[in-house]
Amino acid sequence: MSGSGWFSSPALDRLRRALRGLFGMPDYPRYLEHMQRCHPDRSPLSEREFHRHAIDRRYGASRARCC
């Protein structure tokens, strides 16, 4: 899946990921990849849930851990 709908080319996608990283936004495709690789038994968060978690945890009080 490519980041957003407008264009998609590998170079643009890389740029998009880099920019998100710059802003400290975690990358959803990468998270999916990680879940598939390490926890194939668990169902991953949806994109909406993922972004909610990301923001709440980034500024939240408790920085709980996953694995």
């Binding site: 957003s4 710059l22 390490c38 993922f50 923001i55 500024y59 009080a61």
Partner: protein, 689 residues
């Protein structure tokens, strides 16, 4: 370390260029020096420091080891712990450490001329600042991404940990107060400025809803919308400022703005993060990176000459911007940009959880700080390209230069910086403001300097007012983000402490406990802010130095921790790398702290000023600016309070010295390594090599 003939040649060329730039600065005394030399000299210093000293620390002192998995690799969860490409993380880390600090401090220090500030920024960053950020990041990497406070607890013991926690909380409160004061000073009686800043609130809310409800996680789209709306708010701000009924609505006094900010802080810190804090943070990161790059290009292309002399007569400590001699006050006025304790909190926060390999720590820790130092050099440049007369008109409190352009021009000219009242009023008209007098706090000065540079590069005089308000918006936006995020962080710290006393008070899910902790935090910084706004000397004078002492104290604590870590790793041979900056910070911070408390000059010493007011009160006399005896008492009390805060910082850092000494002596007596590191393991499976 590869050393090919071509790389040797390149580094010799960099060294020669740097030496040439310094020679151009040193030999051109009496005539104005072009700012391009300053920037070139700085860049050469950074490159050489990064290549040689940074490498020495990485290879010899810390011995970074890519075979050791970083916390990001060990705990990879795709969310908090994500191994990140080194350049992306460098940008992210830089955006997190670069705040208002490196912009304000150098502007204030420019009252002594451009040379003292430049030298301290360059020497300080290489010897102290970059080393601190790098070693703290390294220590945290080897301790599973632990925070500074936790590491102090681990390596120096629980009492030291608690003291560090108290110190961090106190410095947070002072930082929030002084940053808010910078905003108040920039926006007082400035309808254009206030309108654009106020507009950021609905813009952030809109972006927040967009990213949460409409298109989750699309920060690029939301930020693009936000930036366009922001630019529109700057353009239409002029119409608001010229509108007969709207202008008075956005023309606020200093005290009204202070109350506004206090209420804003309390509400913003209580809203859900996604609604205001997160979108505003993206917006400010966007503007921050963009503006810094634009300013660098502007200075490079315009290459304006420095109008400020290399040194001024105010080296003697009688300057109007801040009182006190070069030693020790220059070294606490310029904190961020040379060395900033605050960075140790970030280098032990999210960054170590994202680092892919240990060897990346040099670019991110050491290199990130060098970049921040470059921002400080640019801020200093922007302040020094201004006519010195304008600089002093903007940065001197009304008590020193009077309230009219004529009085100010006469006073400043008598100091040896010739300026006419017409130039002062013309500058105000050019930037679209009613006055520039006593706009202390650094932000407006930087904005005028930036506006001059940017307008020369793009748009000419017609756009000066636009660039000025753009620069004010840029600074105010990330200060407000800091106020919001800082109040929240402060609240968690208070809850953590209160939770030890009575568990329900520490419950972050409980509304009453949240309201109580937010209230305590906001009233604490709000008190110092209000006191700064009504201060006879303009507030910045007092608060910025209090902040400087606190920030450098935190840097001292971080460097003491770094030294302990090195000694416990049995690398005491290299302990000088952190001991030298520690010693310098201790000497300057403790001297400044003691002078701020005990100096007999009431302009410098808090006790002397407090006594002056309480003695006059006892005699029933009124001293300006107090208008009633009650106010006299309050001024006296505030000075005693400032003295107490200063004493707290000084005692804290001295206590940490004792703890460090004890821990180091014990480590030296023990024959084996005593540092509490995560043991080196083979890289866990499932991770790219």
């Amino acid at each position: 370390m590869k050393r090919t003939p071509s790389s040797t040649l390149i580094w010799l060329a960099v060294a020669a260029l740097g030496a040439f730039a310094f020679a151009a600065i040193a030999l051109n005394r009496g005539e104005s020096v072009n700012s391009a030399w300053l920037v070139t000299a700085a860049l050469c210093v950074y490159f050489i420091a990064y290549r040689f000293y940074g490498r020495y620390i990485a290879d010899r002192v810390l011995r970074l080891d890519d075979a050791r998995p970083t916390p990001a690799v060990r705990h990879e969860d795709g969310l908090d712990y994500v191994p990140t490409s080194k350049w992306v993380l460098y940008g992210h880390h830089f955006a997190a450490i670069a705040g208002a600090g490196p912009l304000v401090g150098p502007v204030l220090a420019a009252q002594m001329g451009y040379l003292p500030g430049t030298l301290w920024i360059l020497v300080g960053v290489v010897v102290a600042g970059a080393v601190q950020d790098f070693v703290v990041l390294f220590a945290s990497l080897r301790r599973d991404g632990r925070s500074l406070g936790q590491m102090v607890r681990m390596e120096l013991g629980p009492t030291a940990g608690t003291l560090a926690q108290v110190g961090t909380l106190a410095i947070m409160i002072i930082i929030l107060a002084v940053l808010s004061l910078v905003v108040v000073k920039a926006l007082t009686a400035s309808p254009w400025g206030l309108f654009t800043i106020a507009a950021t609130i609905p813009i952030a809310l809109l972006m927040g809803i967009y990213m949460r409800v409409l298109r989750p996680g699309r920060i690029a789209e939301a930020s693009a919308i936000g930036v366009v709306l922001l630019l529109l708010s700057i353009v239409y701000g002029r119409n608001v400022a010229e509108h007969a009924t709207l202008a008075p609505l956005f023309t606020w006094s200093g005290t009204a703005l202070a109350w506004g900010l206090i209420v804003y802080g309390a509400i913003a810190a209580s809203l859900p993060v996604w609604l205001m804090l997160a979108p505003r943070d993206y917006l400010s990161t966007f503007l921050k990176l963009g503006t810094i790059i634009a300013l660098a290009l502007g200075i490079l292309f315009v290459a304006p000459p420095l109008a400020m002399p290399a040194t001024t007569r105010f080296l003697d400590g009688t300057g109007p911007v801040f009182s006190g001699q070069l030693f020790p006050f220059l070294f606490i006025t310029i904190a961020c940009g040379a060395v900033s304790g605050f960075h140790s909190l970030i280098a032990s926060g999210t960054t170590p959880k994202m680092l892919e390999r240990e060897s990346h720590a040099r670019l991110i820790g050491f290199g990130g700080m060098l970049t921040e130092s470059f921002v400080a050099i640019m801020a200093l440049t922007a302040a020094c390209v201004l006519d010195p007369g304008i600089y002093f008109a903007m940065n001197s409190p009304a008590a020193a230069i009077g309230a009219t352009a004529a009085e100010a021009a006469a006073t400043i000219s008598s100091w040896g910086f010739t300026i006419t009242p017409e130039t002062i009023t013309q500058t105000a008209t050019d930037i679209g403001e009613s006055t520039i007098l006593s706009r202390t706090g650094g932000a407006p000065t930087l904005a005028v300097g930036m506006a001059q540079i940017m307008a020369t590069a793009l748009g000419g005089k017609a756009l000066t007012a636009f660039w000025y308000h753009f620069a004010i918006l840029f600074e105010a936006l990330f200060i407000l983000t800091a106020v919001d995020a800082g109040t929240r962080a402060c609240r968690f710290m208070i809850q953590d402490m209160l939770g030890h006393a009575w568990a329900p008070l520490g419950d972050t899910q409980r509304l009453s406990s949240n309201v109580l902790a937010t209230g305590l935090c906001v009233s604490a910084w709000g008190y110092f802010l209000y006191q700064g706004v009504v201060d006879p000397l303009g507030g910045i004078n007092t608060l910025w130095q209090l902040f400087g002492v606190g920030n450098q104290m935190l840097a001292g604590i971080a460097l003491l921790l770094c030294t302990t870590v090195l000694v416990k790793m049995k690398r005491q041979r290299y302990a000088w790398v952190t001991l030298v900056p520690t010693a310098w910070l201790l000497v300057t911070t403790v001297t400044a702290g003691l002078q701020k408390i005990f100096h007999t000059d009431p302009k410098i010493g808090f006790l002397a000023q407090g006594n002056r007011f309480s003695d006059a009160f006892a005699r029933g006399e009124l001293l300006a600016p107090a208008k009633t005896l009650e106010e006299m008492q309050r001024v006296a009390f505030n000075n005693y309070l400032d003295a107490a805060v200063c004493a707290l910082f000084t005692l804290l850092v001295l206590a940490m010295c004792v703890f460090t000494l004890r821990a180091c002596l014990q480590a030296l007596r023990t024959p084996h390594v005593t540092a509490v590191e995560i043991p080196a393991l083979a890289t866990t499976p499932g991770v790219r090599s």
